[in-house]
């Protein structure tokens, strides 16, 4: 075992993050163009997340994207998106306040998530650029790797405390699994 006093990863609750739920047909050219013009980002492929400066765009389902941005920028970006959609059957709505965001940093970040989510966290199976919506113990969550030893996790605001307690329990010192 490595340093027995250090947690497997540090868990940090991040300050308010801008978030916009975007609904529409992800395969529709008009939709793709509108998203690009309002955010500058390409619609990501299945289960992917693309980032560009302060913005990130995540695939949530075949008709849903999540745009991450500065908290203050969310209303304006939403308006721009709505405008870009015009008459299309599409929707953009601010959900920044509905979510909580955590950063996990440490070499054993895969262990921390692997104890709580029924997801194959092995490096060959879950890599950069992939976002996974799943179950974190008893609540819904989504997470992705930001680099080799850090991950970002989003859950609902009301269960932020639960999620933080879970992650910190999972990351307790000396509990690395040694599987990955």
């Amino acid at each position: 075992m490595s340093d027995v006093m250090a947690p497997l990863a540090t868990v940090t609750a991040l300050p308010a993050q801008g978030m916009i739920t975007i609904r529409g047909n992800l395969k529709d050219a008009g939709f793709i163009a509108a998203v690009k013009s309002a955010s500058g980002l390409d619609v990501p492929a299945q289960r992917q997340i693309v980032t560009q400066k302060e913005l990130a765009l995540a695939w949530m389902s075949p008709d849903e994207l999540l745009l991450l941005c500065g908290y203050e920028d969310a209303p304006a970006l939403t308006n721009a998106m709505t405008e870009a959609f015009g008459d299309q059957f599409a929707m953009a709505v601010v959900v920044s306040d509905a979510r909580a965001v955590f950063d996990l940093e440490g070499p054993k970040v895969r262990d921390v998530l692997g104890k709580l989510a029924p997801v194959d966290m092995a490096p060959g199976s879950f890599g950069h650029g992939e976002i996974r919506r799943t179950r974190l113990a008893q609540v819904a969550a989504a997470f992705w790797l930001t680099c080799d030893d850090s991950a970002r996790l989003v859950c609902f605001r009301s269960v932020a405390q639960y999620a933080e307690d879970l992650l910190k329990t999972s990351a307790k010192p000396g509990t690395e699994v040694g599987y990955f």
């Binding site: 289960r47 389902s61 075949p62 029924p118 819904a140």
Partner: protein
């Protein structure tokens, strides 16, 4: 503890990410339908031992409903497909027929 591949996410989802929704391809009978039709729609289910078409929702995931063809006896999954259809895909039916020659068909 089943695993079903979500046809939207492409994820081989653990059963704990899913929520079962009973028999698939029920035809809805609304106002104006006969008592017998409405009763059948609301209450009658096939509950077969063998090939069964089911509805599942990837609730701890993309949130989408999809269909699965599964053997209730062996738990073999023949395939999953999106929910926006009124009948199983032909290719899937053929695949099941090949695997289960005695199967009486899906209707």
């Amino acid at each position: 503890m089943l695993i079903l591949e979500c046809p939207y996410c492409g994820v081989k989802a653990d059963e704990t990410e899913l929520h079962g929704g009973g028999e698939a391809h029920l035809k809805r009978y609304g106002p104006g339908s006969s008592d017998a039709d409405f009763e059948g729609y609301l209450f009658h289910r096939k509950n077969p031992k063998g090939v069964h078409f089911e509805r599942w929702r990837h609730v701890n995931g993309c949130g989408k409903w999809f269909h699965a063809a599964r053997c209730t006896a062996t738990l073999e999954v023949f395939g999953t497909y999106p929910a926006q259809v009124t009948a199983p895909p032909k290719a899937l039916i053929n695949k099941i027929k090949k695997k289960r020659p005695d199967w009486e068909g899906w209707t």
